[in-house]
């Protein structure tokens, strides 16, 4: 049975050894991915060397989306089974997901300047990514708005579940909105067909981003556990 007193010490025991594993995996995969990005992947016949932006842009966009789903699952587990570790995972995921989403926006607009001639267009995909960033930031703001961390967890869990229902609706309406006003003229559906010489670096980079996520997630969860122990000790000190 899941229990709201999920034992953190067992979790710490199990997950501490994972930290160096993830760290090394990230470093090695990142090195390999960067090497492939710059030395084995070919320049695109249309986009030239700027296509190399893709190898950070696409993984961060994927991770931005993935983290939101992960956060929603963790929040649901925390809310329904009152599993406090899941609450901590949801909380720790938010800043990482927000960072990835932010990166996909920045790298995308840096790519957009040479490709489309402008840093930003109100394209459907871009816009929904921007809204996703706001959903992350709203989650983090709500989480931090309470004196009692327990309330922060529960309130933000409900928010993220409402948000996850809304993400497809937002996505759909933004698609509609954009096609209504401005037929797709800037990027063609599908994008460049992916050749293995480009696919492999992309996959390696994505894997590197994933291990980076796990690494930082573990660090942040460990920090949250330490923080709640500190709160408990402080409270004990206060009531002494």
């Amino acid at each position: 049975m899941f229990n709201r007193f999920a034992n953190p010490n067992r979790f710490l025991r199990l997950s501490r050894p994972l930290v160096p594993v993830m760290a090394w995996a990230t470093v090695l995969l990142m090195a390999a991915g960067l090497y492939m990005t710059f030395f084995t992947a070919p320049a695109d016949y249309q986009q030239g060397q700027s296509v190399r932006i893709m190898y950070v842009h696409v993984p961060s966009a994927w991770m931005g989306l993935f983290c939101y789903v992960g956060m929603a699952v963790a929040a649901a587990v925390g809310l329904i089974w009152r599993h406090s570790l899941a609450d901590l995972v949801a909380k720790a995921t938010a800043p990482i997901g927000a960072a990835f989403t932010f990166l996909s926006l920045v790298t995308g607009s840096l790519w957009g300047k040479p490709m489309w001639g402008t840093y930003w267009v109100w394209d459907a995909r871009l816009t929904s990514m921007l809204v996703l960033l706001f959903l992350y930031l709203g989650y983090m703001a709500l989480q931090n708005a309470f004196d009692d961390p327990e309330r922060g967890f529960k309130a933000s869990a409900i928010l993220v579940l409402v948000g996850v229902i809304n993400v497809p609706i937002i996505k759909f309406s933004v698609d509609w909105w954009n096609t209504l006003h401005q037929p797709a003229s800037v990027i063609k559906a599908g994008g460049p067909s992916i050749h293995p010489s480009m696919l492999w670096p992309l996959l390696v980079m994505s894997l590197a981003f994933t291990t980076y996520y796990v690494w930082v997630l573990l660090l942040r969860v460990h920090a949250e556990i330490a923080a709640s122990k500190i709160r408990a000790l402080r409270m004990r000190q206060a009531s002494a």
Binding site: R4, G48, Q49, L219, R220, A223
Partner: protein, 81 residues
């Protein structure tokens, strides 16, 4: 030498490619460093607090009150009361 300048020029896209990778690196490293620093400082605080706790005289503490094995659930701790 030319190879290097060529590489750095990124086919004319240097002004976009390099900032892009630089920003990605900065954000990812910053997040990592912040996470590590938070963990370190909290663990340090925790250790200090726990030492202070140890040092304090324990008035009503009976030897068997402190569970010697890690209990699986807080509820078990509670039931021992």
């Amino acid at each position: 030498m030319d190879a290097v300048t060529d590489f750095l020029a990124m086919g004319g896209y240097a002004a976009f490619v390099w900032p892009c990778f630089a920003i990605t690196a900065v954000v990812m490293v910053a997040l990592l460093v912040q996470s590590l620093a938070a963990l370190k400082s909290r663990e340090a605080t925790l250790r200090a607090l726990q030492q202070a706790e140890e040092a304090r005289p324990r008035r009503r503490r009976t030897p068997q009150a402190a569970p010697d094995s890690t209990p699986d659930t807080g509820a078990e701790v509670a039931r021992e009361a």
